[in-house]
Amino acid sequence: MVEPVVVVHGGAWAVPEELWDESLQGVKAAARRGYGVLTAGGSSVDAAEASVVCLEDNPVFDAGTGSVLTFDEQVEMDAIIIDGTTMEAGAVGAIRNVLNPVKVARLVMEKTDHIMLVGDGANKFAAAHGVQEVDPEVLITSLARQTLAKYKKYTSTVYHLFNKTEKPETSGHE
């Protein structure tokens, strides 16, 4: 017999001080959500999904609502879920316009023989399984927009400083 446990994280990065409190409240709430599912008789996969949905719905975290933006100001999300008993896995890559990518990842695990679906295919699969598509604006926060704008301003300044040439092409970068 094992003492059940639910562990969550909200991302490893230089969390700015103004987000510390909201981030801590968010991970505490998610741990409670998953633990509640477990103690109510849910499976360990149910509990993991419930905790991550709670975190995806919290705009302070970079997942689901509150995701950061691509260079062309879109939201593209990735998610995975793995059942340690069967070692079955489900994942989505570059999926857009859904509130909870982890739910689509679980559908991939349970409804297909595949591990991962990406891009437009992932979106078509989600729609075929009743996952409602949302307006991208629902997922985008002002913080995400500000962060992208700051990044673009910085990179073009640095590029201009060191290259004394016109503004850089929108080159691909991390």
């Binding site: 059940p4 991302g11 741990a31 995701s67 999300m77 998610a79 008993t85 570059a94 691909g172």
Partner: protein, 131 residues
């Protein structure tokens, strides 16, 4: 990036990880999160891991699988995470963090970035942190 690892009363484990990626990423760029063995891994014979940080480094290091492999040698969960992060830093100059739980309910959290928010509940008691 956000994530969760769970072990239930029967020792059944699972993991889940989800992310919006990194700011200004190229359209179509997929990071470590949906990659089995990198963004997450779960096997009832060892435990479950969810990782976060610089995606390309985590993929090259197969960080989640590295951590469970070290756990499988009997190392503590925390030192297994430290081992994985140190390997990723020394070989690939990448930084990140992970949470993990063993199939026996041992918990570990660690990160090589300035901060990572985490929380866990065991025996009804809530633990949490950011530093």
């Amino acid at each position: 990036t956000v994530g969760c690892v769970v072990v239930d009363r029967e020792g059944h484990t699972s993991c889940a990880t989800s992310t919006g990626g990194i700011t200004a990423k190229m359209p179509g760029r997929v990071g470590d999160t949906p990659i089995v063995g990198a963004g997450g891994f779960a096997d009832d014979q060892v435990g479950a891991v969810s990782t976060t940080g610089h995606g390309e480094a985590i993929m090259k290091a197969c960080l989640a699988r590295h951590i469970t492999s070290v756990m499988g040698t009997g190392e503590s969960v925390k030192s297994s995470i430290q081992n994985g992060l140190a390997h990723m830093e020394s070989r690939i100059k990448g930084f990140g963090g992970a949470i993990a739980v063993s199939c026996k309910g041992e918990v570990g959290t660690h990160f090589s970035t300035p901060r990572m928010t985490w929380a866990y509940i065991q025996a009804g008691k809530l633990h949490y942190g950011i530093h």
